[in-house]
C-alpha cells in the first residue's frame, strides 16, 4: 500500500513537472524581471536535477503538492465531519492526483475516537468518509474512483485516553489501491 502511494506521488510529480514545463516560457519572463530566485535554493544536487528548467515558484508548488500528497490522514473535531482549510488542501491535492492518474483508485476509511457509543461512531466514521468523498467529487473525481468504509472506533491508532490521542484517531485515511 505504501509503495502504491509513493508511486502515486511520483506520478503526480511528473504530471506537475510536465505541466509546468509547458508554461515555462511565460513564467520565466516574469521571474527574470524579478531577479534570480534560483540562487536562494539550497545547493542540493538532487533537487537541482529534478527542478532543472523550473522556476522557483514552480519548484515550490511541486514541493507543496508532494508534501500534501504525503499526508493521508484528514482529521476532525469531536462528533464532527466538517473539513477545515488545512484538510481541504490535502484533499484537493489527492483529487488532483486522482484526476491526473486515471488508473488509481482510493478507499476512504472513516474512524472515530473512543468516546461515545460504538454504533453511533460507526455511522459517524462513515459520515466523515462521505464528507471527504463528496469534496473529491465536487473537485471532479469520478464516483467510481472513490470508495468509503467506516471502522468507527474499532481501529484507533493510539490507545491512550487523552485529547492528543483522540485527535489522532478522529480521521479519514486516504488509502491508495
Amino acid at each position: 500500500m505504501k509503495s502504491g502511494s509513493l508511486l502515486a506521488v511520483s506520478f503526480v510529480l511528473s504530471f506537475i513537472l510536465a505541466g509546468c514545463a509547458g508554461e515555462e516560457a511565460v513564467k520565466s519572463k516574469e521571474d527574470s524581471s524579478r531577479g534570480t530566485p534560483a540562487e536562494t535554493m539550497p545547493a542540493d544536487g538532487k533537487g537541482e536535477a529534478a527542478g532543472s528548467g523550473l522556476s522557483e515558484q514552480e519548484k515550490q508548488k511541486a514541493q507543496k503538492m508532494a508534501d500534501l500528497l504525503a499526508q493521508h490522514r484528514i482529521h476532525f473535531a469531536f462528533d464532527s465531519s466538517s473539513i477545515d482549510n488545512e484538510s481541504r488542501a490535502i484533499i484537493e491535492a489527492h483529487a488532483q492526483n486522482l484526476k491526473a492518474n486515471p488508473q488509481i483508485k482510493v478507499a476512504l476509511e472513516g474512524n472515530c475516537d473512543e468516546r461515545g457509543t460504538r454504533e453511533y461512531n460507526l455511522a459517524l466514521g462513515e459520515r466523515r468518509a462521505q464528507a471527504v468523498e463528496k469534496l473529491m467529487k465536487v473537485l471532479g473525481v469520478a464516483a467510481n474512483r472513490v470508495s468509503t468504509v467506516s471502522f468507527g472506533e474499532e481501529k484507533g491508532l493510539c490507545a491512550e485516553h487523552n485529547e492528543s490521542c483522540w485527535r489522532q484517531n478522529r480521521r479519514v485515511e486516504i488509502v491508495y489501491k
Binding site: G116, R118, E119, Y120, T148, V149, A159
Partner: protein
C-alpha cells in the same frame, strides 16, 4: 417520501449453511477457568436481608465448582442480601433435622440456607438444598438436583435465583449468561484477536463463539437465548451475522453497500432491527427473518442508529443527531414520526429497555464524561448511575435489577455492573485483554434440573 411498506431485499442476503469452525467447547468445565474473574464491589449498601449460608455437606469439588461458594458470591453481588460471616456460625447443619433456629437468631440471621453435594454415580452429583425463615421457623424452599459435574455451577445459580425470588419477591437473574467482545494482545509476533465470548452471568466458564483478527461488534441475544446476532469486519467492512450458540452454524444477514450494524431482535424473535447505510445515510430498517423482507423506518439526513425494541414490540427507541448532537427518540415499530425522549445534556445514546418497559438505560455525557444513566419513561426522571468517564454499552439483566456495562480501568476495557437504582456497583475483572460490549442474555430456558 418513500412509503414504508415491506419490499424484498435485493442483494445477496442469504448464505445459509455457512458453518464456521469454532473453538472447541470443552467438556471439562474446569479447563475453562483461565478466563475467570474476580468481582470487586466498588460501591455497596449493607441494607439487604441478613442471610446465613452454611457450607454444603460432602462438597468435594473446590472452587469454582463449589456450590455454596457460588451461591454466596451471587447473593453478595446482588446487593439485596447481607451475607453473614461463616466465622460467626455456631453450627454447621446439612440436614433438616440438624437445624436449631435459635443458633441462627443469635447471629441475627433472617434466612438460612443449608445443603449437601453427594456423589451419585459416575460423574454425577446429587445436590440438595433448603431455605428457611429463621423467625417463623419454617422452610421456604427445598429442592434436589442430580446433575453432572459441569452443571454444578448452573445448579448453584438456580438455587440463588430461588432464594432471591423467595426472599425479595422478584425473579433472580443469576442462571443467565453474558456475551461480550474481547481484544487480546497475543505474544509478540502473534496476531491480535477479537473474540465474541459467552460466559455465565458471573463471568465464569467463558466460551469463544467467534474469533477474528478484524473487529467484532454489537452482540445481541435472540429472545430464546439460542442465537447471537453480531457485526463482524472479517470482510474489511461491517456486516451482520446470526449464529447458533450450540453448534456455531451461522448465516449472513446483511451485507449491503455501506454499513450494516446495530442488530436488535424483536421480542418475538422474528424480526431484526438494523442500521444500514445502503441508501447513502445511516437509517433504521427492520428485516423480517423468515422471508428477508426489508422495511426502512427512518428518513432523515442525520445519523439514525442503535435501535432497541420495547418489550411489547410496539416501539423502537434509537439514537439520532437530527437535533445537532445525539439524543434518544422513540417511534412506532412500523415507522412514522419520532418523539424525542432525552433533553438532559448534549450527548445521549444507545438506549435499551428494561424488561418491564418502564425505563431505559443509556449512555449520557456529563461534564465531559460518558456515564450510564437511567430514564424513567412514565415520569421522565433522569438518573446518572455511574461516576466513571468512559462507560458504554449498558444492558439490563432480564429481571431489570442490574445493568451490566463496559468501562475503562487503568487503561483497560473492563465490565462492570450497577444496580438499577445506582446503589450497588461491581467490577468484573477478567484475565483477558480489553473486554467490552456486554449483552445480558434472556432468562435461561434450559431444562431445570429440579426434583
Amino acid at each position: 417520501m418513500v412509503s414504508g411498506k415491506w419490499h424484498q431485499a435485493s442483494n445477496g442476503l442469504i448464505q445459509t449453511g455457512f458453518l464456521l469452525l469454532l473453538a472447541a467447547f470443552s467438556l471439562l468445565p474446569w479447563s475453562e477457568a483461565r478466563a475467570v474473574l474476580t468481582i470487586e464491589i466498588t460501591k455497596g449498601v449493607e441494607t439487604g436481608v441478613p442471610i446465613a449460608i452454611v457450607p454444603f455437606g460432602f462438597e468435594v469439588l473446590k472452587p469454582p465448582h463449589n456450590v455454596s461458594d457460588v451461591i454466596q458470591a451471587d447473593l453478595t453481588r446482588s446487593g439485596r442480601f447481607s451475607v453473614l460471616s461463616r466465622k460467626d456460625f455456631v453450627a454447621t447443619p446439612h440436614e433438616d433435622k440438624e437445624v436449631v433456629f435459635k443458633d441462627w437468631r443469635v447471629i441475627k440471621a433472617e434466612a438460612l440456607v443449608i445443603g449437601s453435594v453427594r456423589p451419585a454415580g459416575p460423574g454425577k452429583f446429587q445436590v440438595q438444598f433448603r431455605l428457611y425463615d429463621v423467625f417463623k421457623e419454617t422452610q421456604l424452599a427445598g429442592f434436589r438436583y442430580t446433575v453432572s459435574a459441569d452443571k454444578l455451577r448452573s445448579v448453584a445459580h438456580q438455587i440463588s435465583d430461588i432464594i432471591h425470588e423467595k426472599l425479595t419477591g422478584e425473579l433472580g437473574s443469576f442462571n443467565t449468561h453474558i456475551a461480550y467482545i474481547t481484544r487480546e494482545e497475543g505474544r509478540k509476533g502473534t496476531p491480535v484477536y477479537n473474540k465474541l465470548q459467552v460466559a455465565d452471568s458471573d463471568g465464569y466458564g467463558s466460551q469463544t463463539i467467534v474469533r477474528s483478527v478484524e473487529p467484532l461488534m454489537s452482540p445481541a441475544w435472540s429472545p430464546d437465548g439460542t442465537r447471537l446476532a453480531y457485526v463482524s469486519f472479517e470482510d474489511r467492512r461491517a456486516k451482520v451475522y446470526i449464529q447458533n450458540i450450540s453448534d456455531g452454524r451461522r448465516e449472513m444477514i446483511a451485507e449491503f453497500k455501506g454499513i450494516n450494524s446495530a442488530p436488535a431482535w424483536s421480542p418475538d424473535g422474528r424480526r431484526l432491527a438494523l442500521t444500514l447505510s445502503r441508501d447513502g445515510n445511516a437509517e433504521i430498517y427492520v428485516l423480517r427473518l423468515d422471508d428477508r423482507a426489508l422495511k426502512r423506518l427512518t428518513y432523515d439526513p442525520s445519523i439514525d442508529t442503535e435501535p432497541s425494541w420495547s418489550p411489547d414490540g410496539r416501539y423502537l427507541v434509537f439514537t439520532s443527531d437530527r437535533a445537532g448532537g445525539p439524543q434518544i427518540y422513540r417511534m412506532s415499530a412500523d415507522g412514522g414520526s419520532a418523539e424525542r425522549l432525552t433533553f438532559e445534556g448534549d450527548y445521549n445514546a444507545r438506549a435499551s429497555y428494561a424488561a418491564d418497559g418502564k425505563s431505559l438505560a443509556l449512555v449520557s455525557r456529563q461534564d465531559g464524561s460518558y456515564r450510564i444513566s437511567a430514564l424513567r419513561l412514565d415520569t421522565g426522571a433522569f438518573q446518572v448511575l455511574t461516576d466513571t468517564s468512559l462507560d458504554e454499552s449498558p444492558s439490563f439483566a432480564p429481571n431489570g435489577r442490574i445493568i451490566i456495562y463496559a468501562t475503562e480501568v487503568r487503561g483497560h476495557g473492563v465490565l462492570a455492573s450497577v444496580s438499577a437504582d445506582g446503589r450497588v456497583r461491581q467490577l468484573y475483572k477478567f484475565e483477558e485483554g480489553d473486554v467490552r460490549e456486554p449483552a445480558w442474555s434472556p432468562y435461561n430456558r434450559e431444562l431445570q434440573y429440579k426434583e
